[in-house]
């Protein structure tokens, strides 16, 4: 994982949850393009957190190669659906799987920076404790209630959740469906569909559950 802070000419302030598209051009004109969620809060310069995928084409370049002063094209900020603004007062449930945490982190950071009082809870699924992105920052985040679940391996002494998100886990962690919470779910397609379906079974109105599926292309 690597977080890149970008300086973009003409960048308009982004909203929490939005993404940007990165386009790389090689010397012979070959191009590759990928989308990355913006990890930083509105008001901060855009930053993206890139997960290095072993046989990826773009992520190894961004993680291993890019240095201060390097340049590439970006397009954005993009997104009007998977966004949260701090002036929305209702409770917010964030559900993230793996690298799906990135846009949710922007929302959490936004809540802190904007001094919002909206109750915010994060349910974050990772394979192991080592895979948890923004781990230290999440530990120190008072304003957001963080619940981890580790699906593959747990450290000694772990007394948190240790399985994939299921209906029981959601029932224990999510706000009651009648609390008027807005939910944001982000991760792989399978993760997102399973969590969103589970929330609807719990009684959430589908229109209050916003989803963003990440692809696995690197």
């Amino acid at each position: 994982m690597r977080t890149l802070e970008l300086e973009a000419a003409g960048w308009s302030e982004h909203r929490a949850g939005q993404h940007l598209d990165v386009r790389l051009t090689a010397e012979d004109g070959y191009q590759a393009q990928r989308s990355y969620s913006i990890a930083s809060a509105p008001g901060e310069p855009p930053a993206i957190t890139v997960e290095r995928l072993e046989d990826g084409e773009v992520s190894p370049y961004l993680v291993d190669e890019v240095r201060d002063g390097d340049a590439f094209e970006v397009r954005g900020p993009i997104g009007g659906y998977f966004v949260w603004d701090a002036d929305e007062a209702g409770p917010v449930l964030l559900v993230g799987g793996g690298s799906g945490i990135v846009p949710l982190m922007a929302m959490a950071r936004h809540r802190v920076r904007a001094g919002s009082e909206a109750p915010m809870r994060l349910l974050y699924s990772s394979r192991t404790w080592n895979d948890v992105i923004y781990r230290d920052e999440l530990e120190s985040l008072d304003a957001v209630e963080v619940v981890h679940t580790l699906t593959r391996e747990r450290p000694p002494g772990w007394n948190g959740y240790g399985r994939r998100i299921d209906d029981d886990l959601l029932r224990e962690v999510a706000f009651a469906p009648t609390d008027g919470a807005r939910v944001y779910v982000c991760g792989s397609t399978r993760f997102v569909d399973a969590a969103a379906d589970g929330l609807v079974r719990l009684g959430y109105d589908p229109s209050s559950v916003r989803t963003e599926r990440f692809g696995a292309t690197g």
């Binding site: 386009r23 790389l24 051009t25 090689a26 004109g29 191009q31 370049y61 390097d70 590439f72 094209e73």
Partner: protein
């Protein structure tokens, strides 16, 4: 004016120009490209049909199809998204063999598939040892995500013509654009002439 990103190369490789058409890059992978979900059909239900206008459809069940003479062919394949893969090995029935079972004077065909995909080809591109209905790849049964149980294989044209999950050919007098051909892709798709889009 694009910004060139220092040190970015991408994954592609160069290859011998007599085997890699203009604008293409070599790949060792076999990328999966799909316009929709992978259909699943049981072999009990699978059939392959050739429909000629005004004639009775000719149909094979999977069992009958598997009993047809088949061959192993090694060919290079070229995707319009710019990747090329050399020396791919397929097992299948030549379309020439299938067309022997049908009386027709059609000049064009539309391949139709599970999931609704279609692509059009002139009969000339399907005959003379240029096309197969393939059910094996690299020594194994063709995987669903690559078009299994069977796909059309027309390697001398861009690979969108090699329709996955093919269930038959509709023979016609007139050219009728298929899925991608209706949406900007070239009616014929010869990679050596770089016929990618309308107007190329």
């Amino acid at each position: 004016m694009n910004i060139v990103s220092r040190g970015f190369r991408g994954r592609r490789q160069d290859g011998p120009p007599d085997r890699v058409p203009p604008g293409q890059y070599l790949t060792d992978d076999f990328p999966v490209l799909s316009a929709g979900p992978t259909p699943h059909v049981s072999l009990d239900e699978w059939t392959f049909t050739i429909q000629a206008f005004g004639a009775e459809p000719v149909r094979w069940t999977w069992e009958e199809f598997s009993a047809l003479p088949s061959e192993e062919v090694t060919r290079d394949i070229h995707c319009v998204t710019k990747w090329s893969k050399l020396d791919t090995v397929w097992q299948g029935v030549a379309v020439d063999t299938l067309l022997e079972a049908v009386e027709h004077d059609a000049e064009y065909a539309v391949a139709f598939c599970d999931g609704g995909y279609t692509t059009n080809l002139p009969l000339e591109d399907l005959t003379g040892g240029k096309a197969w209905v393939a059910y094996g790849y690299d020594g194994e049964p063709l995987e669903p995500e690559h078009g299994g149980p069977a796909r059309l294989l027309v390697p001398h044209l861009y690979f969108w013509k090699s329709a996955k999950w093919v269930r038959g050919l509709d023979l016609r007098d007139a050219e009728e654009p298929g899925f991608w051909e209706q949406n900007g892709y070239h009616p014929r798709g010869d990679p050596w002439l770089e016929q990618r889009y309308w107007g190329d």
